[in-house]
Amino acid sequence: MNRFFQSNQFRGLIVVLFLLSSLTLYTSTAGPGALGDLLNSAAMPMQKVLSTATGKAATGAETITKSKEELLAENKSLQQQVNTLNQKLTNYYTALQQNEQYKQFLGIKNQHKDYQLLSATIIARDPNSVSGSFTIDQGSTSGITKDCPVITSAGVVGWISEVSPLSAKVTTIFDTSAQFGVRDTANRDTGVFANDLKLADKGLTKMEYLATGTTVKAGDQIVTSGLAVENGFGGKFPRGLPVGTVSAVKSSPYDVSLYAEIKPYVTPGKIRDVMVITDFAGKAEAAKAASSQSSSSSLSGASK
């Protein structure tokens, strides 16, 4: 055994471990740095090619792998949809009304002219993550910075947690650390978006700290409030981004408040393309407010 500890290989191992420990300590405070960027940049082209190939293969396989019964059932369901759509088309006024609704939907886009949007494709999913974190094919060279909100046309997906020159890592709203201000569009009640793993596994999240007499009810639409939450991510999201719908209102097990279970509009595990909001009106102020809040909370934590 003494021979083992005195061998050159063992001495080499100690040197390598010392260097790795220094790297770990450095990156735990300062981020991945140049080496992380180098590894991410080297892997990115291969990941991009493979994700494109697998995406096309998955789409092609969807039709090939279906059995005759599945295709018949799908055909029947599609026929029913066609009948329904035909009925709607014959009703001119209903169509007009729908058209108005679509115009209102488009109005949301007009309301957010300040958004600088950048489309991106998912090129990798983190197997070490319990919340479905993923990597996209756009990075700092495209103008992405840390904490940029990530959305789809349906609603909020998450935020940028790490940026390399050619790629960026996204933490999803299903992450246990996700906390931000949200608002009920029906009654303007506000709460804190939060998560726990058991709910996330069911595809649900929650809106916490609702007062006992809250009028939040199942079916209400929940959007971001744009307000910062202590120790949370909040202020970096613009207000009014759709998050999900309320599926139930329940009593908190820890205090007298209530919480609402939210079914998010987006399931991060099933999406392939996202949009990153690289800039929006009030972003700088929101980031400043969030950072001052986090620094004040860390000061109060230190004083304790």
Binding site: S21, P32, R125, P127, N128, L197, R272
Partner: protein, 166 residues
């Protein structure tokens, strides 16, 4: 370095890159009970069963750095340290003490995966104060461990072929 050895190391290098892309690629390996496998753990460990200490440690270090680069967390080096030490020890034991066969490979892969995944649970979940750590261990980390070691034997067979044929 002999030509055969150079080709063998190149084959390992390409295998590691391929498995890294496979484990990171969206929609390629099926998600089983919220889990995706960590292919690079059995890859590094089974290479260490056949190669000398310096090469095994280097491949362990490389695999660990790739896992760190693909992990959303910002700490580069944690997996590198774990796999460097494991590969160094496995290579030492394989050279002097262990009989190299499928059972040994399976056990060594299991121990390496258990150490890595328990440390992930402790450092990335428990130490951050998230709720329900026992639930996370049973429902997320345990399936990841089982999925990873289930692929240990095919990867051992591949690396055995590379080590003995090239």
């Amino acid at each position: 370095m002999k030509r055969g050895k150079r080709i063998r190391f190149l084959a390992y290098f390409l295998e590691i890159l391929l498995f890294f892309i496979l484990q990171q690629a969206p929609d390629l390996l099926p998600v089983i009970h919220y889990a995706r496998p960590l292919l690079l753990i059995p890859t590094a460990v089974t290479i260490a069963l056949f190669e000398p200490q310096v090469a095994s440690t280097a491949f362990g270090l490389f695999c660990g750095l790739l896992i760190d680069a693909g992990t959303n967390g910002g700490v580069l080096g944690m997996h590198a340290i774990i796999l460097t030490v494991i590969c160094f020890v496995v290579s030492y034991l394989a050279h002097d003490l262990l009989q190299i066969n499928a059972l040994t490979a399976f056990l060594v892969c299991g121990i390496a995966a258990a150490i890595t995944i328990i440390l992930q649970w402790l450092l990335f979940y428990v130490s951050l104060g998230y709720a329900d750590p026992a639930y996370a261990l049973v429902e997320h980390y345990l399936p990841r461990f089982l999925y990873t070691i289930a692929l240990g034997l095919p990867i051992y067979a591949l690396n055995r072929t590379i080590a003995l044929r090239i």
